[in-house]
């Protein structure tokens, strides 16, 4: 029968495979929910899953295949920036809708590109006064050497200096670094109040293990989440770290409870879910609502309807900003529990609108 074809470009192999698995599960969950409730306008949702291998070449090949061979109605997925821009380079040429779920550095601006994750200012702007008040007045940043941490650092610096705080050092480490000793030595001599790590992916594991062994006492902000903590980190090393995220499993609301319950029922009792996954889940639901409302699957119709609808997501109510196709998402600071896996909500900043001076679609 006639179905709504959703193409998924997911890193199933390669460096981002752990996060890819959770993201894929979230899409599967959303599709199952939709299909159980009469699909999209009566049409069942059909997922076309492709592994982009976490590479540029793979992402391009797979996006082309999804569009030309599978003839999908929309493409969703990808985690890190190269996958995203590779996919975007195909979708923007083909004028095909592309929903991107991951936290990203911003800068991408395209009519057919919808971001359901936060950009740096959404996470950082509301958070910095809280940091200044609760954690300290000086920050040392150590990060992986690529665009997202660089943009985050800019956002952090701007917002923090407004509160009178100061960034006293920032070091960017190449991917694949196996020894962070020099950074810890710097922390010892600079004595910042707070350490903010944006070392990501596999290197985050190395970084955190070594951070603990150097016995550093300062509070640590690190972009971790439940999935990563559980699947990648040795038990307990994340305990006490802070992280800004638009979604936490600990959020106490009925939608989230139901989300987690059905996720675990489908994929395993112990399974964790994170902000990226939730943003993917939200993306598919937002698309469904918009398509339903537009009564059409044509990209332009869906796009037109998209800003007019609201979705009751696990993180709270969200909607897409018509001016830049970014999502108004929530911002929470989480604090990792002693088990080093789950988080408690340290502070809720409510919904934050994405402000993008560079972008107007």
């Amino acid at each position: 029968a006639d179905t709504v074809k959703v193409g998924l470009s997911i890193p199933i192999t390669g460096l981002q495979a752990i996060l890819g698995e959770t993201l894929l599960n979230c899409y599967k969950l959303a599709a199952a929910e939709l299909n159980a409730a009469n699909g999209i306008g009566g049409r069942q949702v059909e997922l076309f899953i492709e592994d982009n291998q976490t590479t540029t070449k793979g992402s391009i090949d797979k996006a082309r295949k999804l569009i030309n061979e599978d003839k999908v109605d929309v493409i969703m997925g990808t985690i890190i920036s190269p996958e995203r821009s590779a996919t975007l380079s195909v979708t923007s040429k083909a004028k095909k809708l592309f929903f991107y779920p991951t936290n990203f550095e911003g800068g991408e601006c395209n009519r057919y590109f919808v971001a359901t994750g936060p950009i740096p200012m959404q996470q950082v702007d509301p958070m910095m006064p809280w940091v200044a008040e609760n954690l300290g007045k000086t920050i040392y940043i150590m990060a992986s050497d690529y665009a997202w941490p660089q943009k985050m650092t800019e956002a952090i610096t701007a917002a923090y200096e407004k509160t009178g705080g100061k960034i006293i050092g920032a070091d960017y480490y190449p991917f694949g670094t196996t020894d962070f000793g020099p950074a810890f030595q710097k922390i010892k001599s600079l004595k910042p109040d707070v350490v903010w790590s944006m070392v990501v992916g596999n290197d985050a594991v190395t970084q955190l293990k070594q951070y603990r062994s150097f016995d550093i006492k300062q509070p640590l902000i690190a972009p971790l989440d439940e999935v990563f903590n559980k699947d990648a980190l040795p038990p307990g090393v994340a305990a006490g770290t802070y992280a800004p995220q638009p979604y936490w499993m600990a959020l106490d609301n009925p939608v989230n409870k139901k989300f987690i319950a059905s996720f675990r029922e489908k994929f395993g009792k112990e399974k964790m879910v994170n902000g990226i996954g939730e943003a993917g889940y939200n993306g598919l639901h937002l698309y469904a609502l918009a398509a339903e409302k537009a009564g059409s699957l044509r990209d332009d119709d869906v796009l037109k309807a998209l800003p007019t609808i609201e979705f009751d997501a696990p993180q709270g109510k969200i909607r897409v900003d018509a001016s830049n196709n970014h999502t108004l998402c929530h911002s929470y600071v989480g604090k990792a529990a002693p088990d080093g896996i789950s988080y408690e909500i340290a502070k809720d900043f409510g919904t934050i609108a994405p402000v993008t001076p560079y972008c107007k679609v």
Partner: protein, 328 residues
């Protein structure tokens, strides 16, 4: 020797014929797929031109591919530069050649050969990828540069516009054919024979009056220039350039394509590149985690069953055939 040349030309002609009739049976998407594979095929041939004849393995060849790609991107994305596409291609080729010339001069005239060269070029690849990631003000960082326009230019009143699938396929296929043919005729003649001699015994070759380092350098630079050309073409077709196009993974893959296709045959690597990439994407759509395992096994098997690459199947079949005929 003569018979071998004839065989090569025969296979080349067969491939060319296939490439000509292919558009009759393929839709636009399938054309783009083969077009991109052909570009990587040319990239593989460029590595083979150096590796196959000198016996020195370059483990950072993707660096030149990436350099070509980035230069192309920077030139065509800058609206202030006229004749973007043409200038981009020239710049990409020249840039890759220049970098190769500097590094090559340093290494070849410093007496560095063999595994040393391999590992030093490996490091060069690592540096290039890291530079592309961290120098984000120019390179766009890890997300790369997006929105590179398709190749378009006017030569002598003819307007070339490669935004459509068929023209771009034809353009790429003819470039690849010309390049492979050119590389082949260079490497089978005097140039190639002397390179083989240098590979056998460099001191002896020098004592006969051959400037071995210079010859190696020129070969390397030419090989890098072609890699740069491939990079420039690819980024225009893909519309973006990203750091992993100059990375270790691609460097390794291209080595594998050459080895699978048959080192020193130039044509084999092109076929190897197409075959492996298509197999990779097909298998990965079918079962993602199977691919790496399968690929690994394929390499091990190829080494033992087809040590001279897939192109040697032809020679073997022929040998078998001859053997039969003689037996009868």
């Amino acid at each position: 020797m003569i018979a071998r040349d004839r065989n090569w030309l025969l296979i080349f002609a067969a491939c060319a014929a296939l490439a000509v009739v292919y558009p009759l049976f393929a839709d636009g998407y399938q054309l783009t797929v083969i077009r991109d594979a052909l570009i990587f095929g040319m990239f593989a041939a460029s590595l083979d031109f150096f590796w196959g004849r000198t016996g020195i393995l370059c483990f950072g060849h993707a660096a030149f591919f990436g350099i070509g790609g980035y230069i192309m991107a920077l030139i065509t994305l800058n609206d202030a530069i006229p004749f973007g596409s043409l200038l981009g291609i020239v710049g990409a080729v020249a840039g890759a050649a220049l970098v190769a010339a500097i590094i090559g001069y340093f290494l070849f005239f410093g007496g560095i050969r063999g595994s040393y060269f391999t590992i030093v070029t490996l490091a060069m690849g690592v540096i290039c990828q890291q530079a592309a990631v961290s120098w984000s003000s120019v390179t766009g960082g890890d997300s790369g540069l997006i929105g590179i326009p398709p190749i378009a230019f006017d030569v002598g009143g003819i307007h070339v516009d490669l935004s459509q699938d068929l023209p771009s396929y034809i353009f790429v296929a003819s470039i690849v054919a010309v390049v492979v043919l050119a590389l082949w005729s260079i490497s089978r003649g005097r140039w190639g024979t002397v390179l083989t001699a240098i590979q056998d015994n460099e001191v002896r070759a020098a004592a006969l009056g051959h400037n071995a380092p210079l010859r190696l350098l020129v070969t390397f630079v030419l090989s890098a220039a072609i890699a740069g050309l491939a990079g420039a073409l690819y980024v225009c077709m893909a519309g973006l350039v990203a750091p992993d196009l100059s990375g270790l993974l691609l460097s390794t893959e291209v080595i594998v394509w050459v080895a699978v296709g048959g080192r020193g045959t130039l044509l084999g690597p092109v076929l190897g590149a197409i075959a492996i990439q298509r197999a990779q994407q097909t298998i990965s759509s079918f079962n993602p985690s199977l691919w790496p395992l399968l690929l690994g096994c394929v390499f091990v098997i190829i080494v033992f069953v087809l040590p001279d690459g897939i192109l040697s199947i032809y020679a073997r079949l022929k040998g078998l055939f001859k053997g039969r005929r003689q037996a009868q």
